[in-house]
Symmetry: C2
Subunit: 398 residues, 2 copies
């Protein structure tokens, strides 16, 4: 056998079904999504046997979902049209605004990924396809040709929880070559998320790389924890194996995580060159992570000078008791007596937690506690949390 043949066969063997079936046996590969120059987008699915193909995604106008608990905005849904060769197609009627979008197909009602698009990001228990429309703020979500920080998955001991736990940590470009101490942002995820959420869906490393490169953000360390105190690590990454929690996890919004949080700070301050002053620490989080940030920052008023509540839950649920949630008024009084460098509250005008945040702002106003408020359109979605991160980081450690 000639060497040329060996290499060809190697290619077939190594690149598997993609090349074997599509490139080599003549079936034309489907391109999907195809982002056109005018930023309209065409989606395609090769499904000759399907009788109905739809696409659902956050780039489509939201649709009302009626539930026993009320109405919600859900992602829109639209039909694809069957073309020759059994390929179904849909092109957006207008350009899409710059953003990281996610979508899935529905084939005769069955939700599937786009087999032509290898990019998928897990969001809790589903793994939709993603695509990017460049430009404007979304350019902060891209990997650009700028110096890149490092992203590590580390395990830290949590004596208070009696286990080793995993976290994700971003160190800025130059950290390893420097002797300097760096300020630290602790960045917390929402319910159902884990230590992968901010780095994957939140585009944290890209946002930090880009803000630091443009001089808008100070070089800082970002620590992304797992806020489910019953878990060692994200699904699939712990000794519980490839199982998936199918119910709300215990130990999420009951004070356990907040109580054990100093274990994280101890580890980070021991293992990294950190600015160990209050002025060198920020804590922020989305939804449940905002709730954690609120209660951790008031429980340990000497730890964090910067606090960010992104679409935060505020008040503990009825019946939940923990020393963490006791004497809220007194603890806030103590925290605000020291006037945080920044206490930042951000929420979307359609967020189901809007009212709770309004109540909290009234409480802060009544007491004359200083904070900055930032309101955006839309609801409880990642688009907003990425926006909030790009707004929050430039205000830190100035």
């Amino acid at each position: 056998m000639e060497k040329r043949y060996v290499v060809l066969i190697a290619l077939i063997g190594l690149l598997g079904p993609l090349f074997a079936q599509q490139a080599l046996w003549g079936e034309k590969p489907v391109v999907s999504p195809e982002i056109h120059k005018d930023k309209t987008v065409t989606f395609r699915l090769n499904a000759p046997n399907a009788s109905r193909v739809e696409i659902t995604g956050d780039f489509l106008p939201a649709q009302k979902i009626v539930s026993p608990f009320g109405e919600f905005d859900g992602p829109g849904i639209v039909e694809l049209k069957k073309t020759e060769n059994g390929i179904w197609e849909y092109t957006t009627p207008a350009s899409l605004a710059p953003e990281l979008y996610s979508y899935s197909f529905l084939v005769d009602g069955l939700k599937i990924n786009d087999p032509a698009n290898v990019y998928r990001i897990r969001d809790v228990a589903t793994t939709p396809n993603v695509f990017m429309i460049d430009g404007e703020r979304a350019d902060l979500y891209k990997v650009n040709s700028v110096p890149h920080g490092s992203v590590s998955r580390r395990w830290y001991p949590s004596p208070k929880l009696g286990m080793d736990r995993r976290l994700t940590i971003y160190t800025p470009p130059g950290y390893e070559e420097s002797d300097a101490d760096y300020p630290v942002l602790y960045l917390l995820h929402g319910m159902g998320g884990d230590e992968e959420a901010w780095i994957a869906l939140g585009r944290t490393s890209q946002i930090l790389d880009n803000l630091i490169a443009s001089g808008k953000g100070r070089p800082m360390i970002v620590v992304m924890t797992n806020g489910n105190a019953a878990q060692e690590a994200a699904p699939g990454e712990s000794s519980s194996g490839f199982t998936y929690p199918t119910m709300q996890l215990p130990l999420t919004m009951d004070g356990t995580f907040e109580t054990a949080f100093p274990d994280v700070v101890d580890f980070v301050d021991r293992q990294y060159r950190t600015d160990k002053s209050k002025q060198g620490r920020a804590i922020a989080g989305l939804s449940m992570g905002g709730y954690h940030s609120l209660h951790i920052s008031k429980q340990y008023p000497d730890l964090f000078d910067y606090v960010g509540l992104f679409s935060a839950a505020i008040f503990p649920n009825d019946g939940v008791t923990s020393p963490i949630y006791e004497d809220m008024d007194k603890k806030l009084e103590k925290q605000f007596a020291q006037a945080p460098a920044l206490y930042w509250i951000a929420i979307g005008d359609k967020d189901f937690l809007y009212k709770q945040n309004q109540d909290y702002r009234n409480l802060l106003n009544k007491n004359g506690y200083g904070y900055v408020y930032y309101e955006t359109p839309d609801g409880h979605i990642w688009k907003n949390w990425r926006i909030y991160l790009t707004e929050f980081v430039p205000m830190l450690f100035k």
Copy 2:
């Protein structure tokens, strides 16, 4: 609105379609795969409108694929049966051997993921679902309750390639608390892979954690590079964005990567506490990565005392010229004159590169060059490469 309601709605909003549609509106969630106590496995898909549902995966007996270039073993395929409620089901007729398996469904010919299984690992351009059968060697592939190393994505400058490039690096448990120098294994992927391949499909961090915990492997650093010299990083992780290479990449098996490899070693020796002697360095790789390991180790005979060729390509393709591939006989003579501590060749008895490896062993035999040969059943598949890693690591740095 009562707080209790707010929390319920928070749950719906945060956990999205999974809870909203399945748990709360009464549709029973499908469990798939269900691994039974006897290690048979049931797969299920809720697809009431489908007329044919199949499953394809590496747990099924291989099937012959006929191509213009010859016959290959491809993953098997079997039909599911429709049960009441429109749920399709298949149970393996016998227990499955311990292993990390991958699979996809075919619905009326359309390949899809199992929507009930959130675990997927990208393999080149496809992202099949995965599941684990515990036991025996596969227990080395699990996250166990042992000390865990750290896994970092780092960017290193490659002056020889004129770009910053990404690598994945494993540091063993205790590295950060120690002052010791550690030996380094450079571990290279195959064609179509990238710096994510060994950590995701190869289960490198789990295998190293477990071998180190049992005392079978020495604590070591493992460096996983990107062998496509035209790429900065894995698809989606570089400034080329969410595009996917649809053809064989240039600069993969033409000497470019091998020529630039000292840039990697320089970076790692500068940034990590490494044993900088030849005795403290190993290089190994699968397929194209084995080819790279062969040619790098003979080009720089003072760098590596341990060499592992896992299902390696051996000889450069006709017409490929590079100083790297010149004078192969002389370079091997020089390399083996210094008697590597270990020169390890492993391959499956059905591998399409078997003959090339046989030719190479004949060449080594003829010259009296010492090596260790390890043969397994099966072909050019990840199962074998995980096995080879678990065999290779315990022999290193002794």
